[in-house]
């Protein structure tokens, strides 16, 4: 049954393919670390190169898959160090990652996130190896109604993030949803909130949104503090650089749970690393944040989204390899690469072209180990970014933000938009809003609306479709439980868990 995998390791362990896996991992980490260049752009840049070099199909795929998984590793670096997510999947890693860096634990945070990424990816790759064809069948059972229920579940799990200021969290999420509404309405083709500007037909692009909201507002905050001389503002010296075994073990359940969650989210077509990071973080906070330390630099709050987003990257290969349906934007590009080589993805791929399917899966195992080996020692090195003085750091981030957005859109309008969003984000932060609900509202709200509309056009307007299937009913129940249990439990079991109340 696993002949394809044995054959795959034969393919992946040739010197050329090992070298390509390493190159992909290295470039991917770099692409991920630079804000604005994510896995999609990285692959789009390298794909013509792979084709021009005349690489055989499996080698090209190994290189590109290395870039993809590497980018999910790299995205966390700027999240932790600068509070700026390096790519879409790393948004949630800022929440506890950056506070850790502020405590002087940047090195251990980077090390821990590398280990979590490794654990998450490993879980997902094993899942991919064992269950791919089975999971593919489950994934297509997710129709618009099920996706809508999934989004409701995701929103209700966000309720844990309400924390000290529920009203501001709610307003933030609604603002995010409103931003997601901008652009052409997918159901009818009507323009919404575009004010006649063609550039807004497209809606607000994800990269523009996160770079504006996080990077630009961070720059503005740094500038505001630049003239102050108070020492309390400075970053503490970088202490020890390696993460300790004890810290890793402390987070083991966070990593394992989030790896499984991320894998499942990744397998579903239409949801990617950003949703995976959000759901794993909120679930972990719900399950283990007994002392209310999440958001203040809790190691588990960093391990969860990192394990989740890496697992989702490997998970999105399931529908791509077995059904020929991309599970994420990045696998859509990879699918294009497969078609260039005249390869038909689908269940037949494993028997007809075992060197491609097996080689790719084997290279994911190898690439994952390479990425851990590459990222652990680098943690201490990258942590030193924090010792760079503000007057160097602020312009450097600004340059990266501008270049990143411009190379994506080749359009000045995107830059202006990024600046407007940045000022908006800065004002929100000055008013005491957290940015995470805004970005989650933006990501989940768009998906939620599209799928609601689709479900209702299938049923001809009958709301019943939303809770017709077993999957949706299960998700609805889970969502309600998430909202009600924390309120109900302390009342039903008085004295048992007073800390929760």
């Amino acid at each position: 049954m696993f002949d394809f995998l044995i054959h795959g390791f034969d393919v992946a362990l040739t010197p050329l393919n090992l070298g390509l896996a390493f190159l992909g991992a290295l470039l991917g980490t770099l692409f991920g670390a630079l804000p604005g260049i994510g896995p999609i752009n990285g692959i789009a840049i390298l794909m013509p190169l792979a084709y021009t070099l005349g690489l055989p199909a499996e080698s090209a795929l190994i290189l590109l898959a290395g870039v993809y998984t590497g980018a999910e590793y790299g995205g966390r670096m700027s999240s932790i160090l600068l509070n700026v997510p390096g790519d879409a999947g790393a948004v949630m890693s800022t929440l506890d990652g950056h506070p850790l860096a502020k405590k002087g634990l940047a090195g251990p945070a980077l090390g821990l996130s590398a280990v979590s990424s490794f654990v998450g990816a490993t879980i997902a790759i094993i899942g991919l190896t064992l269950f791919a064809p089975l999971l593919a069948r489950v994934a297509v059972m997710f129709g618009p109604a099920e996706f809508f229920a999934l989004m409701v579940f995701a929103f209700s799990s966000m309720a844990v993030m309400m924390g000290k200021d529920p009203v501001k969290t709610g307003i933030g999420a609604v603002l995010g949803v409103m931003i997601a509404m901008i652009g052409v309405d997918s159901g009818t083709g009507v323009m919404r909130y575009t004010f006649g500007l063609a550039e807004l037909y497209d809606g607000i692009d994800f990269v523009v949104m996160i770079i504006g909201l996080f990077a630009i507002s961070e720059i503005l905050l740094m500038l505001e503090h630049a003239n102050r001389q108070d020492a309390g503002d400075a970053m503490p010296p970088v202490g020890r650089v390696m993460v300790s075994l004890k810290e890793v073990l402390y987070c083991k359940w966070a990593m394992l749970r989030s790896g499984v969650i991320g894998f499942i989210v990744g397998v579903l077509p239409g949801t990617g690393a950003s949703v995976a990071g959000a759901v794993s973080y909120t679930t972990e906070k719900r399950l283990s944040d007994k002392e209310n330390t999440f958001g203040t630099g809790d190691m588990r709050g960093l391990a969860a989204p990192e394990a989740g987003n890496n697992a989702s990257a490997a998970g999105s290969f399931v529908p791509m390899l077995t059904l020929g349906i991309p599970g994420s934007g990045t696998t859509a590009v990879l699918l294009g690469a497969l078609m260039l080589y005249n390869i038909t993805p689908g269940p037949m791929l494993f028997s007809e072209r075992p060197e491609v399917a097996g080689g790719l899966i084997a290279s994911l195992y190898i690439g994952n180990i390479m990425l851990l080996a590459l990222n652990l020692p680098l943690a201490g090195f990258f942590a030193k970014v924090l010792t760079i003085p503000r007057w160097v750091l602020v312009p450097a981030i600004a340059i990266l933000a501008f270049v990143g957005v411009y190379q994506l859109h080749s359009d000045l309008m995107a830059i202006y938009l990024m600046l407007v969003i940045g000022i908006f984000g800065y004002l929100l932060r000055k008013l005491g809003f957290s940015l995470a609900p805004v970005i989650l509202g933006y990501v989940l709200g768009g998906l939620m609306e599209d799928n609601l509309r689709r479900a209702l056009s299938i049923s001809g307007g009958d709301m019943g479709i939303l809770w017709q299937s077993g999957i949706s009913i299960g998700l609805w129940i889970a969502a309600v439980l998430l909202l009600v249990l924390p309120w109900l439990l302390p009342r039903l079991l008085p004295g048992k868990s007073p800390a929760r109340a």
Binding site: L30, L34, I40, A44, P48, L49, Y51, T52, A139, V140, M141, F142, G143, P144, A145, G183, V184, D185, S186, G187, T188, G189, A198, E199, Y201, D202, G203, P269, G270, P319, L323, G324, I325, P326, G329, A332, V333, L335, G336, M339, L340, N342, T344, G346, P347, M348, F381, K384, T387, P389, L400, V403, Q407, S410, D411, D450, R454, S457, I458, G460
Partner: protein, 328 residues
């Protein structure tokens, strides 16, 4: 602030690396570029890659062509971008198809109409297809049509475009051929063919009105059944077994050309150079194989011939839009 000397030593190559990377991005701006006005992986992506790989492999361009994605407004964003921002870029071509012509006819591209850009040429043509899941009750197009007549609102159609898009047109014309008003049709708009196909396989929709070329990877899998090709006559190769709609007694045709346009203010010199390039490409035997591998059929219209063809087509679609009750 005290600097670690090792860090200083390493920062130089890092900065150089970053500079080189931005340099590469910049250098590519000097090369040729094709904008695919959609998300990666769809028909426009395929169209751009056809030109990019074809021109590269036949040596008609020396540097790889950059393919960029500009999704939104089913092509409106790219159309307006080329009209408003990069209106005279001699190195930029934009992928277009029958779908763009439909949107132009419906006035969906805002203030601009079909005469605003320079239509460059088409490298291939594809045909619409009516697809159902392999275990669906309908064996022929006629089975589906008879059933549709009985319960027009009971069969859910879906495809990758909004109501009014070319994907919807295929569904609307099919319904019209069965004597059913397209307004009664139950239609779900997905984001691209991939999502629609997933919905078909998951029994969320019953009929997918897609394109033949995007179905190629799924023909052998045995998971779907193509009831009809919306072509004038049977197409060859792997599609030889698929009957046309006309064969089955329903007069529905939907050819989808895959071509390119350039900005309105591009010089004649640049336009003619591109026309020449594409014409040479279309005659190349190696390219013919590439086109076939992508499930596209030959179509050779370039320059003024193509420009006239598109404008005429847009005029026809305007008429059609009135018929199916979409005119604005």
């Amino acid at each position: 602030m005290k600097f670690n000397s090792a860090f200083l030593r390493w920062s130089a190559p890092l900065v150089m690396g970053a500079a080189l990377m931005t340099g590469t991005a910049h250098a590519q701006a000097d090369g040729t570029e094709c904008i695919a006005p959609a998300k990666p992986g769809g028909g426009y992506d395929l169209t751009c890659r056809l030109a990019a790989n074809g021109l590269q492999e036949t040596g008609l361009i020396d540097k790889p062509m950059m393919v960029t994605y500009m999704p939104g407004g089913i092509g409106a964003v790219a159309y307006n971008h080329v009209n408003g921002v990069r209106n005279d870029d001699p190195n930029l071509i934009v992928a277009a198809s029958t779908g763009a012509a439909v949107n132009l006819a419906l006035g969906k591209f805002g203030q601009y109409d079909a005469s605003e850009v320079r239509w460059l040429g088409a490298l291939g043509v594809d045909y619409g297809a009516i697809v159902v899941k392999a275990d669906a009750p309908w064996q022929t197009l006629d089975d589906l049509m008879q059933d549709l007549k009985k319960r027009p609102g009971g069969i859910v159609f879906g495809a990758g475009g909004t109501v009014g898009s070319q994907d919807w047109m295929k569904a609307a014309l099919t319904a019209k051929a069965a004597g059913i008003s397209p307004r009664k049709l139950r239609y779900v708009a997905f984001e691209g063919g991939g999502e629609s196909l997933a919905a078909l396989l998951g029994d969320h929709i019953q009929v997918f009105t897609g394109d033949l070329s995007e179905l190629r990877p799924h023909l052998e899998s045995g998971k779907v059944r193509v009831l009809a090709a919306l072509a004038e006559e049977r197409v060859g190769g792997p599609y030889a077994d698929i009957p046309t709609a006309a064969e089955q007694g329903y007069d529905v045709e939907w050819p989808i050309w895959r071509g390119y346009y350039m900005g309105p203010d591009v010089s004649d010199k640049a336009y003619n150079a591109w026309e020449d390039r594409l014409e040479k490409l279309a005659d190349n035997e190696q390219f013919a194989k590439m086109r076939e591998a992508r499930g596209l059929f030959p179509m050779a219209r370039f320059g003024d011939d193509f420009d006239g063809y598109v404008k005429k087509q847009v005029a026809q679609f305007k008429q059609l839009a009135k018929e199916v009750g979409l005119s604005q």
